[in-house]
């Protein structure tokens, strides 16, 4: 099943194929992906390494071009956009949380978080004010002037999350957001993402191997060998330990 029942669709993939290389060296990585990511939900994309998850989210994000097929995000067909249109669409609608944080080492935490607003035309000063508020919410009020090399992994991930959310994107794409985090910090991050996803006209896509955070998914799509095998509502509940951690 690829389409959730009675749910508006944030991301719609139809027969997405991606080949790398040419001639005898051509390798098909995605074999006709059909996938609907619902609005107002957190969707996990899981599967073994090398199954095509990163390729798929790169195509969804407009960072890679599909060989064929179509991808629509909130009704706009991103696969038909070219050049500057894709870039503008990405800047205005998408937020990214990378596995390796990818913070800019020459910028402080608040400047890193502000970059998404600066890209959209804000001055650095006003963007920093907005980013500072978000970082305070993420518990970074004492560390927002530090540089990435002065922050722990968890703190860097919070900055990366702030960067992804500061411009209020409608879609957040997150690649292994909790890979470098301890359980408690990972839970905090997922709580925040779930809060984002619950907004009207919002969706969060999480690529992950971390089964500690599976309870946070509304939907789980499983992938292997470049194909979507299952897409279903998440039946995994939070464990008693997770529930008491939430209460704390």
């Amino acid at each position: 099943m690829t389409q959730s029942e009675n749910a508006a669709i944030a991301i719609e993939c139809r027969n997405v194929i991606k080949d790398f290389g040419s001639g005898n060296a051509k390798q098909r990585v995605l074999h006709g992906i059909d996938l609907d990511i619902p609005i107002g939900a957190t969707t996990f994309l899981v599967g073994p390494s090398g199954c095509g998850k990163t390729t798929l989210i790169s195509i969804i994000a407009g960072l890679l071009t599909a060989t064929s097929g179509s991808v629509k995000i909130l009704g706009s067909e991103i696969t038909k956009m070219r050049g500057g249109r894709v870039v503008r669409f990405r800047a205005n609608n998408l937020g990214f949380i990378f596995q390796q944080f990818n913070l800019l080492p020459s910028l402080s935490a608040v400047e890193n978080a502000a970059v998404s607003l600066v890209v959209r035309g804000s001055t650095l000063a006003s963007a920093k004010r907005q980013a500072g508020v978000l970082l305070d919410r993420l518990g970074m009020e004492k560390n927002k002037w530090k540089y990435p090399n002065q922050l722990s992994g968890g703190q860097q991930q919070r900055v990366a999350i702030a960067r992804a959310l500061v411009h209020n994107p409608r879609i957040v794409i997150s690649d292994e957001p909790t890979a470098s985090l301890d359980a408690e910090t990972g839970h905090e991050v997922m709580e925040l993402l779930r809060e984002v996803a619950s907004g009207v006209d919002r969706a969060v896509v999480v690529v992950t191997h971390d089964n500690r955070i599976f309870p946070f998914a509304d939907y789980i799509a499983t992938m292997s060998d470049g194909r979507i095998h299952t897409f279903q509502k998440n039946s995994i509940n939070l464990s008693p330990n997770d529930a008491s951690a939430e209460q704390r």
């Binding site: 990163t54 500057g84 503008r88 800019l104 910028l107 970059v115 890209v119």
Partner: protein, 379 residues
Amino acid sequence: MFSIAMKMLFHDRAKFVGLVLGVAFSTLLINQQLGIFIGLISRAGAVVVDVPEADIWVMDPGVKNLDTIFPLRDTELGRVRGVPGVAWAVPLFKSNVTIRTGNGELEASLLIGVDDTTLIGLPPQILMGNIDDLRRPDAVAVSEEGFRKVWRGQPISLGNVAELNDRRAVVVAIVKDSPKFTSSITFFTRYSQALQYTNNGRNQMSFIVAKAGVDQTPESVSANITARTGLKAMSSPAFRWKAIEYVIQNTGIPISIGTVVALGILVGIAVVGLMFNLFVLENLKQFAVLKAIGTSNLRLIGMVFLQAAVVGFVGFSVGLFGATMFFETAGKSPTFQGFFLPWYVAAGSGAVAAAIIVLAALFAMRRVLFVDPAIVFRG
């Protein structure tokens, strides 16, 4: 985005300093060498510059520069004076003489004999003394630098006695002359007095210097003189350039200095190009992240060019400052007089620095433009 570009640039201090020094070194080398070159070859025409009253120089047809002279017959002076369009014409004598310095050493020096009546041929700037005193017997004027060299350690003064080619010469005036190519000691005296200090043969007149009449151009009068007398006549600027041209064509100075300038440019291109490319390579992932989160290629191009422009501006300023300080400091040395940094050399080196930076930016740009933003999703 541009403030982010600057933070990226300044964050890597070592590379930033290396880039700036690369541009600065290239700029300094170009300015210093070209300034020296221009100062050096300008000295070839210094004697012409020191006779501002005249605008025409007349000489033997075979003369190519100020140093290789074939003396004119005395009667030529009258013939030149008789050419229509010549307001006046006076003789000028030029020869090398040997002088014994205050401590008994011998020095080569230049002796200029100026017109007895008008004293035309003396440099315009008299530092000490009265030029009318040149009418006294054995009277000479000496260049300021020449005095310091002949009478080392003594304060500039009048009345010192020198031995020019074994004859007595009394200093009655100190003048400021243009630095010469061959000697820094120049003595000036009356034409008739100069002939007594030398024995150059039957004919002694080195040049005739003249002035074009009112409503006449030096070029047209020069042509007239040549047509009527068979002598070579040229305007002062033309003769000065001819002397400079001779040095350029017949000495190794242009090749020597030109090689250093070319090396300075090549080193600048190589160092700055390589380091800027390295800077962009090391920051490629940052550019990929910016691309991924929605920065357009145009903005990225702007960032790279801004970084390059700042490096170029700072480096050029440092290099130009260094070159200016060099000429300011070295110019205080008597042997370095007349060397300066012309504005057009500074402007030209600015254009070269800009070209180096643009080339470096263009070379690095393609990496930024073609970086795959999807790499940010990979480990």
